[in-house]
Amino acid sequence: MMYRALFRIRFTNSLQYRAAALAGLTTQFAWGFMYVLAFAAFYRSNPAAFPMTFQQTVSYIWMQQAFIAIFFIWMYDNSIFEAIESGQISYELVRPMDLYNRWFTMTTANRLSRAVLRCLPILIVAFVLPEPYRLVFPGEWARLGLFVLSMVLSLGVVVSFSMLIYISAFSTINSIGTRIVVGVAGDFLAGGYIPIPFFPDALRIAVELSPFGAMQNMPLLIYSGYLTGSALARGMLLQVFWVVILVCVGRVLLNRALKRVVVQGG
């Protein structure tokens, strides 16, 4: 119940900013379209060198833009950093809630609300674009279901991963560095700049096993139909694996950090 209330507050807050949502949409749409056009140019120059079909790449980009708030690490919840750095954290400790759950809920709600607001208009426009720039509906419902499931898992990976960055703010004086460096590097490795199949093979294989490969890569490749069969099953199992690991590590680290805060009287 408590978490639901928290969730609602966050959600309503985000809804207030209609102009911001509209502007964000336009930006993202234009951004995505430029990506699609760039890949189209590369495709024209040598179709044989394309690791995915062009259609799959287009779907990848549009779905990525539509759910950007879910997929990207750098979409942090800055209020958490502020709470830690300003020392407000001591108030948070007074409340009768588990801090890890609280932050996890907050961040998830924040990301979901932003995504829900933005995804529909982008999806609608992307579906009605002319060929070949159009977002294609996956043929089977099963694939759509797997996509949704995998997206939930990747939200779990992204949030539990960003929890580690929040927690690291306890032990650094200035979290800006970690925020930027880990954010940029992470999003690059996760396929935020170019899809992972475009990476050189050695790097691709390594990344696919890492938590970064369990983020946007999985649902986007499932939706576009690039991943099927056993590779798909293996990938989703890896996603579950990483959520569990990251949550456990996060909990341990947070407890340790909080003990220090209490001892020092943070």
């Binding site: 609602r8 959600f11 309503t12 809804l15 207030q16 209609r18 949502a21």
Partner: protein, 265 residues
Amino acid sequence: MITLQGINKTFRIAKRQAGFSRAFRALFSHEYETVHALKDVTFSIRPGEMVGYIGPNGAGKSTTIKIMCGVLTPDGGECQINGRTPWRERVAHVREIGVVFGQRSQLWWDVPVIDSFELIRDIYKTDAKVYKRNLCELTELLDLSETIKTPARTLSLGQRMRCEIAASLLHDPKILFLDEPTIGLDAVSKLAVRQFIKRLNAERGTTVLLTTHDMQDIEALTERIILIGKGQILLDGSLSELKERAPEGANDEEMVAALYREYEI
């Protein structure tokens, strides 16, 4: 000489909706409200006068000050300060005024205050001799000789406010606008600030207009009071006149509260 004649100002404000479903509806439409910030505001202040400008929150005090500083252009009416219209001849006008916005700092946060002072000197192109004289005098009177060597962000509110006031006076302004200069200060700092303003007015003949919620500021500093409520000037007179209208034995706060009630603001 300051004269305001029939100044009007209205704002249009978008309403923010509370609640989940309303917030959702607000995605598609906005409701606007027209607020009359100032209605026919008229008064004049002689050179060397010290005036308290009081009224409840949102009455229009800051809007008036912003107009007199040249930051805002009114919808109608005239304003002459030292023979100029503030919003028409901004640069020439602001050279002769000093402004302290009590809740906002004009100092550069991370460098020693003295660096801010020097930058302000260059911004105002203050004559080196004048600057030096003012700096000496101000640091002495406001007891700042140590304070100005430290960065603004490390100062207490009281120290910072004294620095803010000094910063506004380095260029020898003829008029000083003080927007809530004592807000949040402790007793010692309040007394120091009041004493300083009084002296400034007496010795240099600086015209001072100050807004405040602290009636002791008014009691200590000003003979004349202008009361504004809902954008209109309600009363313009001396402190003693004001006291006569108040119930017997009321202290300052009660007096103002009674006044607000009387005018239904």
